[in-house]
């Protein structure tokens, strides 16, 4: 009888945990906005994430995986993330454009489809070719690096820098100040930008144990900080 009770208890606990897991998978928002963002976000460098990291870069610059399509989630919104062959959110890969856009998630287009982004509308409205080089979480440091490493090779006539109100806090939060100073001094002295590295494939991605590939924060809203450290 004692064994039967023990077996029953274990089975009931396992069943309870399975039901709880199922409920959280179907209704993650019921546990809180930050929880749902943390569990469903693809803004990470893990195998199911959209980022990979600039190799050997001390300032943790995330790059988006090239030619990559997935469904994203943030604050209750779902959208299709698709990147061009350089890893930016453009429907078409081009070697030369008229206009480049530098910005963060506002210009990347968090929460909307690619044909609802500023880049798409600007191309339609201006008749010029546009490359969207914006990524979620970027601040002016990344904008400068994207201009030098990804923007100038496209030989644009116009560069539009969309400064967003959280860029100052993002800069302080996401980058070691000593590294920033070293980088700035080098650029001010005329050092060239390194070219955008080639995505080497899955081998560079960090392992993804189920308990460490998520991070919870209010970062995904446009008024908070949005950064994977």
């Amino acid at each position: 009888l004692r064994i039967n009770n023990l077996t029953l208890s274990i089975a009931a606990t396992a069943l309870g945990l399975l039901i709880a897991e199922g409920i959280l998978r179907v209704f993650p928002e019921a546990a809180g906005k930050e929880y749902a963002n943390g569990m469903l976000s693809r803004y990470s460098p893990y195998p199911d994430g959209v980022y990979w990291r600039w190799p050997g870069d001390r300032s943790v610059v995330n790059l988006m995986k090239p030619d990559y399509t997935t469904t994203m989630y943030g604050n209750g919104y779902r959208w299709t993330h698709q990147t061009d062959r350089r890893g930016f959110r453009n429907a078409v890969s081009r070697d030369r454009v008229d206009v480049i856009l530098l910005g963060d998630s506002m210009i990347y287009g968090q929460g909307v489809e690619i044909d609802q982004t500023v880049g798409h509308y600007l191309e339609f409205r201006s008749g010029m070719t546009v490359a969207n080089l914006a990524r979620q979480g970027d601040c002016v440091y990344e904008h400068l690096r994207m201009l030098g490493s990804a923007g100038l090779p496209l030989r644009p006539r116009i560069a539009i820098h969309f400064f967003f109100l959280n860029d100052i806090r993002d800069l302080l939060y996401a980058h070691p100040l000593d590294d920033l100073e070293l980088f700035l001094k080098a650029i001010e002295d005329g050092a060239p930008f390194s070219p955008l590295p080639e995505f080497p494939g899955k081998d560079v991605e960090p392992p993804s144990p189920p308990w460490s590939s998520v991070s919870f924060s209010s970062a995904l809203s446009a008024t908070g900080l949005a950064r994977w450290k």
Binding site: A20, G32, Y35, M39, L172
Partner: protein, 117 residues
Amino acid sequence: MVKRIFLLGAFRYWFGEVEMIPDYTDEELEFGWQTTERLMRQMVRIARDNDVRFILAPITDDYRQFKRLQSFAASNRIDFVDTRSVFATKWSRLPGDGHLSPRGAAALANLVADHIR
């Protein structure tokens, strides 16, 4: 297919593993501004060296931030787009999120397209 274990995530979340946004002092924020302005000056220099027209289009509804950027643009002869008309509206943002709505993105693109013509 989501490969994460939601229940484990829930324990981490409920037991306080939530990133807190640091509360920066005015001094730290001023340092951030000065560094940002140095970075922007380099963007402008590099754009000019490569015959690229550089345009600053701030997305902010903070008046002090806007004025500082406007003044920075004027003193560095940077082309500046005043986007306040877009961000003064509720419809420009996704409800409960704050990012640009499709209508907001279209309005911002129109403003910029008018400016670069």
